[in-house]
């Protein structure tokens, strides 16, 4: 499953450019080929950009029939895709709930049976049941061999549903690989330490540069800012002072902390080079940060140029 979590302006620009809802001018240097190659790839790509908006006065079925006619999809696919997403499609679109609208959008995407499906914030505004439904649907599509790219700012969601992840900051690939590998490669960001004399232990560890937080009476949370945490160092420091730990548990980082670690220290100012690369007439934007999860990608790699997004063979 693929995913994409850029900052809002960059996401809108890229996804709009790719899907046609933004003007067909090269948005950035990385995606400038998209409008040119669009004829070759559009039949293989399905996308939901922002909130899906169909013709409100028509039923779901009517909306899909119109789309099918426009894109040359067989008419019988309408009933099939509606069935696939569990919609009857007879109600007017304006009466749909957010979840139903999202499901109709997925059905529309499936009309042409694309290889790549792009979801932009697919769970925005949905209730927990709707979120679960959409996540399940995305997983099912991925398990059927589709490549699913999810653009989401909810990193916990990305961690939960994605197979692989790519982290991009300021136009450069920061990390890429399976989610577990990415999480592990970041090392332990914190450890849970149980020690009888927690006051002295706090003094010792703080003096050594650790950040110490008291979780309960005898339990401390020990962490290091922007550095890997070596559990052996904690035991050695405490043992040297005659303090022996009764519990030392590493706390696994989540995707959010990995993202923050990888992008920490990156300036959010716009450089002269970035201003030059921005399209004319647009105000300066913050540089994008993206997390992208992809299926069947090799193991972790770091600090490389972005892959070609144009969709060209």
């Amino acid at each position: 499953m693929d995913s994409w979590v850029p900052t809002a302006p960059e996401k809108q620009q890229r996804s709009g450019c790719f899907s046609g809802s933004s003007p067909q001018t090269p948005a950035t240097s990385e995606s400038s080929e998209v409008p040119l190659a669009i004829d070759g790839v559009i039949g293989r790509v399905g996308a939901i950009v922002e909130q899906p908006k169909f013709f409100p006065a028509f039923s779901g079925q009517k909306n899909l029939k119109l789309l099918a006619k426009a894109i040359g999809a067989p008419r019988r696919r309408v009933a099939a895709v509606l069935d696939e997403v569990g919609l009857a499609g007879r109600d007017k679109y304006r009466n749909y709930s957010l979840g139903m609208k999202q499901r109709l959008a997925i059905a529309a995407m499936l009309l042409k049976d694309p290889d790549l499906l792009i979801f932009d914030e697919p769970t925005n505004g949905l209730d927990p049941a709707g979120i679960h439904e959409i996540r399940t649907m995305m997983r099912n599509l991925a398990s059927r061999g589709k490549t699913v790219l999810v653009s989401s700012h909810i990193l916990a969601e990305v961690q939960q549903i994605a197979d692989t992840v790519t982290i991009i900051g300021r136009g450069r690939l920061l990390a890429e690989g399976y989610v577990n590998q990415i999480l592990a490669s970041d090392g332990y960001v914190a450890a849970r330490v149980r020690v009888s004399d927690h006051l002295r232990a706090t003094e010792v560890l703080s003096a050594a540069g650790f950040t110490v937080e008291r979780l309960s009476n005898l339990v401390l949370k020990v962490s290091l800012v922007n550095r890997k945490l070596d559990l052996a160092v904690i035991t050695r420091l405490l043992a040297d002072q005659g303090l022996y730990v009764s519990e030392l548990t590493p706390i696994q980082p989540d995707l959010e902390s990995v993202f923050l670690n990888l992008t920490a220290g990156q300036q959010r100012t716009t450089t002269r080079e970035e201003r030059r690369r921005q399209p004319a007439g647009r105000p300066p934007q913050q540089r994008p940060r993206r997390i992208e999860q992809q299926q069947r990608r090799p193991g972790p790699r770091r600090q490389q140029e972005l892959p070609d997004w144009s969709g060209r063979p």
């Binding site: 046609g20 809802s21 003007p23 067909q24 922002e50 013709f55 119109l66 789309l67 894109i71």
Partner: protein
């Protein structure tokens, strides 16, 4: 492209507003046929008897009071010609049926006006509703070729307008012919009237294209209708309140109403008031000029080309999100 045009035509015909507008046109045409029916029908026996009674009464009054009135009139210093009361005639009271050509011609022109205004609204709403509901974003997501999308929508509107204009003209002319036959009214100038009907399709298409482009530019149906109303108000002021102003009439060849009239009537004659100083004082003389059909065709071709190209350019480069 063909697929897209069919999809747009399907959407256009599926819209509720289109259905309502077509019913409105049908009602308008049918309503005016009642007026035509009345105009073509000769007076009934009862009407004729009532008219004869009125005529008799009027003639008696005229015969009884004529001499006294004329005498009083002459005594007051009026000219002889001004004091003559014409003798009433029976025709003045019974009224002749309107000739078929005149009745059908008026019906065709009115239906052209009605259909043109309705298609403007339909076309503006067709694209305006897409913008206001945001569904244009979704459409472009699935069909990301903006030029194709623009032309497919425009061609759908043009095809629909041409079809509607032709149907309305055919309906009006056919109904008028049937009514003329029913009332034994002499049918004449049918090819001329058919030509008027064909030419009437042009303003309908022109207004439909303008409606689409203005709706696209304003992104809202109400905005487009507002602009149309503003133009109509200006036109009415020019031909009404400013009819005595020479400059307001001289610009007729460059006005939309003058050129629409030239399309419908195969040329449009207008009068420009020109002041002339004579020995008695300043006299206003009306000098007739004309806007030819060719002028109207060239005028609208240029206007439409500019409006379409401008709209396409904006549609291609304007962000819809």
């Amino acid at each position: 492209m063909t697929r897209l045009i069919w999809a747009e035509i399907t959407r256009l015909l599926s819209r509720r507003l289109t259905g309502i507008a077509m019913i409105l046109i049908l009602l308008g045409v049918a309503g005016y046929q009642l007026v035509i029916n009345d105009a073509l029908s000769p007076p009934s026996g009862e009407e004729r008897a009532a008219a004869e009674r009125s005529y008799q009464q009027a003639h008696e009054d005229w015969a009884a009071g004529r001499e006294q009135f004329e005498k009083e009139c002459r005594d007051s210093g009026s000219l002889q010609d001004d004091c003559v009361i014409p003798e009433p005639t029976l025709v003045e009271f019974t009224g002749d049926p309107t000739p078929f050509k005149e009745a059908a011609s008026t019906a065709l022109k009115l239906s052209t006006l009605l259909v043109a205004l309705v298609t403007f609204t339909i076309a503006a709403s067709f694209i305006g509703a897409e913008y206001s509901s945001g569904s244009i974003i979704n459409w472009l997501t699935f069909v990301p070729r903006r030029s194709h999308v623009f032309w497919s929508k425009l061609l759908a509107v043009v095809g629909f307008a041409a079809l509607l204009g032709t149907l309305a003209a055919t309906l009006v002319l056919s109904a008028s012919l049937i009514l003329a036959r029913l009332h034994d009214s002499p049918v004449e100038a049918v090819p001329e009237l058919a030509g008027l009907g064909v030419r009437g399709v042009l303003p309908v298409v022109v207004l439909a294209v303008l409606g689409f482009c203005v709706g696209l530019l304003t992104r809202h149906t109400a905005g487009a209708i507002g602009i149309l109303l503003a133009v109509l108000v200006v036109c009415f002021i020019r031909i009404g309140a400013l009819s005595s102003q020479s400059w307001a009439q001289r610009i007729t060849p460059w006005t939309p109403d003058g050129n629409i009239a030239a399309l419908i009537d195969r040329g449009y004659t207008y009068a420009v008031p020109v002041e002339k100083v004579t020995r008695e004082g300043v006299a206003v003389e009306l000098v007739e000029s004309a806007v030819s059909l060719t002028h109207g065709l060239v005028y609208w071709s240029i206007i439409l080309a500019l409006v379409i190209m401008g709209s396409l350019l904006i549609f291609r480069h304007r962000d819809v999100i």
